[in-house]
Symmetry: C2
Subunit: 419 residues, 2 copies
């Protein structure tokens, strides 16, 4: 698709859905989101992957620069392990699932070599960040570096099967499970015993990681693992009285009336719900899928900024001021993960609210986050949807949510579904 | 002064200076800021101190609630040691310097009793936060809890001399000096040796703390201490090539080209410059005062938001995107500390740029931060100067910068000065 056609298509779909979205009314005829599929593929292949291919590769030391300005120029050379792992995952995944382009595999291997050589301490924990030439900068205080390293090496093993990659993935996964209940370790600043809280992030990521690792750890182990993580997400962190998912709860699963306990991160909950829908699909559990879809819709409804549009980054469950000063900002990953969740929700359940919300959030997202001039999308908007930071990548934004979501939406909507 | 008069006065001073501010032109006749003094006193005594007196006292457990909503209602009961210490300091200071109101001393003592009973671990380090009833919540990872505890007990000792208070102040101060060069201790996430950085915060606070402690540690010790902290601030963190103060530098004082090294916190630098002017006044060092005043003016000029007004929270010295998502917000303490620095700068040097900037920032601050309906001021505005969080106090905002600054500006401008 040429860019002009693409823009015409964007305009056409926009005007098409303006009637249906109003008040999120359910339409009587089944809505098809199928017409969106091609533009998601086009954006991924023509504008997103080339941006990272052209600008992020460190040809001298290996690995990736992720601090990229609007036009792709490197403004900082530190290497953050979350993002090294995520980019290895991304190009391995695209090579395996989309097209076997040799340069995509080479990018993934370039990152994996750097990670393997420099990324771990003596106990096999992954550092948080390194200098450009691989010296450790920030200690392995953050277990999500390990989660994304596991995903990276498991995906690379799918793209180019190799026992060596599988071993790194397996060892890191076992290490995550070992550290699971005390993953902050010596870096934990909470005084022991006063207010022990359980955090949503790790169970949430394990929902996705378990499926990513199936070829490495085996289906039996995944089968045994899945009910446990589903239970944590849907029965511990989801609070029926609120109708929402909390980021932190007391050890017994009850509500903790403090900043951490009141914290809502709508994007987090929405993303988790498509992980759960994926698990529900694997289990053939339609009730689980419907429950996840409903929670996702309730979260979007709650998190949507009625004044300026977009989904808030953080909210307080009691409506108090959140401690996060960035609470009202609109972040890229929140919106593209919502599009994935809505596309999956609509395809799997036929719920028309998913179609209406998809169209509304598609419009917001493509209008505000997409950069028509350069590839890759903006990451951080202020409440009004204006660009807050012109960067395309930084300490936390890399080659991950945008390409993964474009791929997921494309593939989910590729085949017309009639409910 | 009645509120109507007060507002008239505000309007009058606003229109008065509109000609002089334009382009920060130097006026030929010496400007007097003396007319502002009364409104700063009035606001402090009538609207700020009563707010904390009425809403923050925990009558059950002692200590202070600081998470106060717009109207003063308590929305969270955790107790943050920075703010416990700062409020003890504030009411002790006002009792000693402003008026010996028994209820002010009782508030200070109420906070001190709570701090003394619950605030320290076995090594005498001050916790970061406690539950309402005094159980430790967050470990003593942050040495600024200790700094404000020292200030609190030293000020209380001035208000109600007592060896016991002096001992706590002295012991805590010695502990700060002992931990000074490795104050993050076990909570330091930086990998040792790769990129050791020196941070501006502690030397900056020690500039102020040394004077606050003079009656406790003695003048000789302060005399010996002052040149060292002045040297750190003015010769290490101030970078002549940039004309600005950096938050972090390499161990040898050179520029570190990374997120931390490029970080500018204009409010921090501006506040430090009035600490330096106070030290310059004590030393009778006019050259030091002029240098501090010039750095302060350059920082305000650099940090001022030419589009929407107000001083940015964070900037990158190379103009790259800062990692702090809240970079463009306008914070209360930045603006009121700038008013103190400008009042002192004008009074001490007669530099007319100080008067013009004082008038401009006074207008911005009183218009956007002041809450005409309830006491105490808002703390967090978005870039446009709209209220971002309606709170009057929280985890980081308590009874400190607003009352201290109102007092400092009032006292600095109280006597008409003719240069």
């Amino acid at each position: 698709m040429k860019l002009e056609n693409f823009n015409n298509n964007l305009a056409r779909t926009s005007s098409f859905h303006m009637e249906t979205v109003n008040g999120i009314a359910k339409t009587t005829a089944a809505t098809s989101l199928h017409t969106y599929a091609a533009m998601y593929r086009e954006e991924l292949v023509q504008r997103i992957l080339p941006f990272w291919l052209n600008h992020s590769i460190d040809k001298e030391h290996g690995g990736f620069f992720t601090c990229l300005d609007r036009d792709g120029s490197v403004y900082d050379t530190d290497k953050f392990m979350w993002l090294q792992g995520r980019q290895v995952w991304c190009f391995s995944y695209m090579y395996h699932h989309l097209e076997q382009r040799p340069e995509w595999l080479e990018i993934a291997m370039n990152g994996a070599r750097f990670m393997e050589k420099h990324g771990r301490d003596a106990e096999g924990n992954w550092y948080f960040s390194l200098t450009a030439d691989g010296k450790p900068l920030v200690q392995p205080y953050n277990i999500f570096s390990d989660c994304f390293a596991t995903m990276a090496f498991a995906a690379l093993d799918k793209a180019a099967p190799n026992e060596h990659y599988r071993n790194i993935a397996t060892q890191t996964f076992e290490n995550i499970l070992r550290r699971r209940h005390n993953w902050k370790g010596i870096y934990n600043k909470a005084y022991p015993g006063t207010r022990p809280l359980r955090n949503f992030s790790l169970p949430m990521i394990l929902c996705n990681l378990s499926l990513e690792l199936e070829h490495v750890i085996g289906s039996e182990r995944v089968d045994a693992f899945i009910p446990e993580v589903i239970d944590e997400v849907m029965n511990v962190f989801y609070q029926p009285s609120l109708g929402l998912i909390l980021e932190n709860v007391n050890e017994d699963g009850s509500f903790a009336d403090c900043f951490e306990g009141r914290l809502l991160n709508p994007g987090h909950a929405i993303e988790a719900m498509w992980f759960i829908m994926d698990l529900g699909k694997r289990l053939g559990d339609e009730q689980l899928i419907r429950k996840a879809c409903n929670i996702m819709l309730d979260t979007i409804e709650y998190g949507w900024d009625k004044q300026y549009g977009g989904i808030f980054y953080f909210l307080d469950a009691h409506g108090h001021p959140p401690q996060q000063l960035e609470w009202d900002q609109k972040l890229w990953w929140v919106h593209v993960e919502a599009l994935v969740a809505l596309a999956k929700g609509h395809t799997l359940t036929g719920d028309e609210r998913c179609a209406a919300w998809f169209q509304k959030i598609h419009d917001y997202t493509w209008k505000h986050f997409r950069d028509a001039e350069y590839g890759e999308w903006f990451g951080y908007l202020n409440r009004r949807g204006e660009v807050l930071l012109p960067l395309k990548g930084g300490k936390w934004k890399g080659c991950f949510h945008i390409p993964r979501s474009l791929y997921q939406v494309w593939k989910t909507l590729e085949k017309p579904v009639h409910h």
